[in-house]
Chain length 262, copies 2
């Protein structure tokens, strides 16, 4: 039996982690494209594929072509792809599916809900993968494909994908910025963010089985105005002061609404 | 050998988790105080102690008296304590040590850096515990005491404790609010926060060995104005719109400063 052949267009964090996981699942990776030769070659080596830096050199023997490049580069790449029936997907949370409509009869989106770094291996088995396709057979193929490497495959609409991406920005990028602000505050007093690591991980783990609204603690949740006032005095940066005020207001409002509902 | 005897003043989340951990380490808990009889009795039963609802009934046979009540109740409790040499500590991140100065010759703070719920057991071994005391011998005793149940004991000043608490509000309460906002956004599209759980936990785990500034991803970090504009359109709540704008601005500024430094 011949392995299903995949082509990776892109050699960044997502392409790297996806490529490695696909190889582990027994897929054959035909080619890896990147405009940067070094990047193409680095990933090609990892997944036992050929490196190309020119999209004109793409073979047409793959079943699925995965475009995993920066959001604003997807359209440019798509314009250079002209397949018949091969499935072309991108991996973005925000780019519309239609950007691929001239690449092939069959196209879609395969959006893994995870934060990828090149260096750190990610457990794709537990990573939710959101699937969208322009027709039913493509949707079915993409679902089987995604299920081969993820235990959590979800069929979503374009609208839902946008919603998920926005929510992910809050839950991931914005909470990460809260860690960054905390690190800045600690640094001024020669303290390390390591001190807060158990607290940070427990806060993230706590909401596994509980709504974060029910898990909220701290001065705003307690309505402890004295501490909030003291904190505002302690914050040097004007924008961080505003963030403190706005989020505290948000916590108070959210708990009030939750209380009304229950 | 007789076990060291501890008294718990308070029967909330912190007192409960601390009491259970201390029992496991072989300490004897003499009494548990709470103004609410039911709470006092519930914790007293768990830690094999006597329940009291009147501070006048406190025995003086304990080595350490741990005040683990709400921040604004600490002073009221402290006013009713009159010991000679026994060590009196509170567990708050914000309340000054001096609030205890009339309770005994020896007093201090034992601030565990963790988020506690009554129901969920917390691994105190990995929880950093910040220690502060009014004199050297008390500081030494508290350090030995804390080291008996935590693998991460830190001696901090009052100023540092305030800084740590403020940083913890950002890293814990505020990131938890980001999860709550994400949940609200998803709910409107009939989606569950479970979808983001792997992403949330990975974001928290990622900063174990890396500065969150270096780990930042997403539209603001990429300078992707198109996506940010689309997101702002998608957010219904006016305050959440402001939070989106402010934190995005913060991410951009933080990355700019980091770039300058490196």
């Amino acid at each position: 039996m011949q392995a299903t052949t995949i082509t990776l267009i892109g050699a960044g964090n997502v392409a790297t982690q996806l490529g490695i996981a696909l190889r582990e699942q027994g897929y054959a990776i035909s080619q890896v494209y990147s405009p940067t030769k070094k990047s193409a070659e680095a990933l090609a080596k990892k997944v036992n594929a050929a490196a190309i830096t020119d999209l004109k050199k793409l073979h047409s023997n793959s079943i699925i072509y995965i475009i995993a490049v920066k959001d604003d580069a997807i359209e440019t790449v798509a314009k250079q792809l002209h397949f018949k029936n091969q499935i072309v997907v991108h991996t973005s949370g925000t780019v519309p599916i239609d950007v691929l409509k001239k690449t092939s009869k069959n196209y879609g989106v395969l959006y893994p809900l995870q934060t990828f770094s090149k260096e750190k291996a990610v457990d794709l088995k537990t990573t939710p993968v959101c699937i969208e396709a322009n027709n039913k057979p493509t949707s079915t193929t993409l679902q089987y494909f995604a299920k081969s490497f993820s235990g959590n495959v979800q069929q979503v609409s374009s609208g839902q994908r946008k919603t998920i991406h926005l929510a992910a920005v809050f839950a991931c990028n914005f909470s990460n910025h809260m860690y960054a602000v905390a690190e800045g505050i600690l640094k001024k007093d020669k303290l390390s963010l390591d001190l807060l690591q158990p607290l940070i991980e427990e806060t993230a783990a706590k909401i596994k089985n509980n709504s974060p609204v029910k898990m909220q603690t701290g001065p705003a949740a307690r309505g402890d105005k004295k501490t909030m006032k003291a904190h505002l005095k302690l914050i040097a940066d004007a924008d961080n002061k505003k963030i403190y005020q706005l989020i505290s207001k948000g916590i108070i409002q959210t708990l009030k609404n939750d209380h009304k509902q229950s």
